[in-house]
Symmetry: C2
Subunit: 463 residues, 2 copies
Amino acid sequence: MDAESAANAGRGARTSGPATPPTSPPVGVTKITSPNGPAEERSAPDELPEAAPIPNGHTGEQSAPDGPGTAQTAIDGLPEASPAPNGLTGEQSAPDAPGTAQTAIDGLAVSVPPTIYDVARAAGVSIASVSRVLNGRRNPRPETRDRVLQAVAELGFIPDGAARALSVRLKEVAGVIVRQPWASKTPEDVFADEDDSLQFPDMINRGIAEAAQRRGFDILVRSVSLDEHDPGGRTLALARKSDGIILHDRVLEPDQLERLARQIPVVTLAGVATPMTANVSSDNPAGMRDLARHLLYDHGYRSISYIGGHVDSPDSIARFRTLAAEVADAGAEFVDGPQWQGNYTAGGGARVMNNLLARRTDLPRAIVCANDQTAIGVLYALERHGISVPGDVAVTGFDDIPVARHLHTQLTTVRQRIRELGETAFEVLYSMINRETPVDRDIVLPTMLIRRQSCGCGEARQP
Amino acid sequence: MDAESAANAGRGARTSGPATPPTSPPVGVTKITSPNGPAEERSAPDELPEAAPIPNGHTGEQSAPDGPGTAQTAIDGLPEASPAPNGLTGEQSAPDAPGTAQTAIDGLAVSVPPTIYDVARAAGVSIASVSRVLNGRRNPRPETRDRVLQAVAELGFIPDGAARALSVRLKEVAGVIVRQPWASKTPEDVFADEDDSLQFPDMINRGIAEAAQRRGFDILVRSVSLDEHDPGGRTLALARKSDGIILHDRVLEPDQLERLARQIPVVTLAGVATPMTANVSSDNPAGMRDLARHLLYDHGYRSISYIGGHVDSPDSIARFRTLAAEVADAGAEFVDGPQWQGNYTAGGGARVMNNLLARRTDLPRAIVCANDQTAIGVLYALERHGISVPGDVAVTGFDDIPVARHLHTQLTTVRQRIRELGETAFEVLYSMINRETPVDRDIVLPTMLIRRQSCGCGEARQP
DNA sequence: CTGAAAGCGCTTACAG
DNA sequence: CTGAAAGCGCTTACAG
């Protein structure tokens, strides 16, 4: 059997319907299968007979709730393999299942994993003892310990997380909700990819995950789009799988937030601390003030505008306010209006500029963007229209994401301690989960002005 | 009470030790608290008295396994609030807990969430009925339905995921293991940030998450570093929280992989399908062949080298082989050797080049990199040494990550359908979880050569 | 030190 | 249509 046919061996076999697929897409994973690569690069070992060893048969058959339950039982090897106390009933083979041993045949069978009862029996001890040696509670007798450990190794036992979670009331999972900026992208959007690129939220998540790992936690990330019909619902759905929730930017309305916080610990990023929630964010006022003064006094720009992020973003609002105040204090002109509303994406920034330029609007001397992503779009639009940055117009960002320094015109921006934002958010959440008294429930991290080319620094301003 | 003191209100209160912190870091989340931002930006509403309404008291007290269990019970509102059948024992207040009502005081208290029993009682029906209306099973009487729904709304009931998972034997969670390239970064590494940037793996994960969402699944991502002492252990730990596992690149040894696959469905990315696992990857041979021929025949380069990724990476090995073969076929020179070993990071690429240049080695006419990240490092090193790309040396990448087109010298590379790789991996895993016959267990996605500047295309080759 | 048993919060046949 | 009960796989006082 050559690789080609081996790869298709599974085809044509009966396929059972998935268990109530939420939004079932055009199903079918059929892809272009290596049109021309050398065979050895994609060979599919397919020793059917002995290739799928069923350590301990006995299929639990998780029949789909509705839909015709389809039984694809593996070869039932050891009938008496699971003498669990609470009488395992063995597989409940669906009535319409003509043949069995199907999953075993296609070689991808996964037998029902062993439980703590299997380990206990194999080791000749009680499940309590197994649990104890596995969790290092009260030192068991060395012999007991060894026997258990051996049984565990032999069976390849992996304790079920759900069962443990239910028992200790701790899942060791933190849910993270991100506002999805890349939802509204159009096919021909030049920045589709760029907006898919590493965002500020991704880096924060990296920080969260890192801190979580130290505590034995994992993170479950879910993104909700701006135009989501029910962000609250999606958030709740994630909450049931987590011990606590971290909310990026502003994903929930205040009332929804309160409801959620009543059920589970909640930490917001860039929001505002409430009696029930904690918050961690960067010092927007200080960051924007430094940037604004640099533009106003160091460069002497007399007219400045601000391209906002999401309309209701606390971060964007804070930045806007500080900038407007600084511009006013300097007696300079603050160019404002609805046409300057962005959405934190490069596409949004480009759109704002294109619209402005189409109307032949006079541009301010400097354009301050809500974040780097937006600035990237602005730079692009300006460049395409032959407008020089920073010669004709200065442009700045906020965040200092990695790409910022690789742009053709390096971006002047305000650096946030992005990962630290995430790490801190997790630590606060962790303490809340442990019902500890949080050290502080409104944490603000410092920022730093990063001067590069786009504001007019770095190189002699060329016309 | 001003914002400053409000923020510190919680301090000084007794803090209980966290439950067996794995690798306890210098604890304490104390951060720089807004050095100079206006107060209203970080105000912490702190209406102590009525701020923390305890809907239905009764604290479950998840006392830390070892360590002195510290009880921080909330105000016990409704003593008889949980008439659960299996006799809830109420809080097991730890012996050393002098006072209670502590979490309520600091305002961040989270009462024990209601269970299905609370809902059933409130609605005057059985828990079975609650479960049925919530899951839309067998249409309940409209009245029953309404009462349940109302009770759910009133109590803010969120069914516990662990309990559900245990019962239906499905967690609706897919575990994803990534090989962590950013582990070995040194402080002074110029590319630390760049390597922190959106990587190929991140984009794949985005695809996985997207596909997962359609099926009601969430993904749990864990990264293991190359020098991990026990990648298998960390993987198993994640496996207990998941229904299936997706492995990036090559994170497990074949034997570990087999052990894992015997317990739980496994899909590898860029690996090789085995009797127990499925694999999805890009067509490396075709992609590299197109690239190699472009370099060899279109540009006529006669000497080429390859900077590899991780030594044992199947992708890198496949690319290497194809390139070597193509170069040989063309009768050109393939410059090889251990000094050309990279590690998929920009830092790695830069290091290889710096070492080579330090030894004043003659460079080949073209340097093919295992991935874009590596190429970025190479471009950087070359530029610093005043070597012109593509004038003196051509450089190419692989992946076509977003930054590739934003580099000063735009990168010629081989595009992979990155997100699709992830989406496909999830779909295959999903079918395995449902014990379906997979459509194909070795899926290969097509690639596409993207010619930009770094190979010598696009602009007239300047000296 | 160890075992028997209760309990975690759901879902789902099984009988009314 | 609905309720009582069993069962999912662990952990943990509680008694030996």
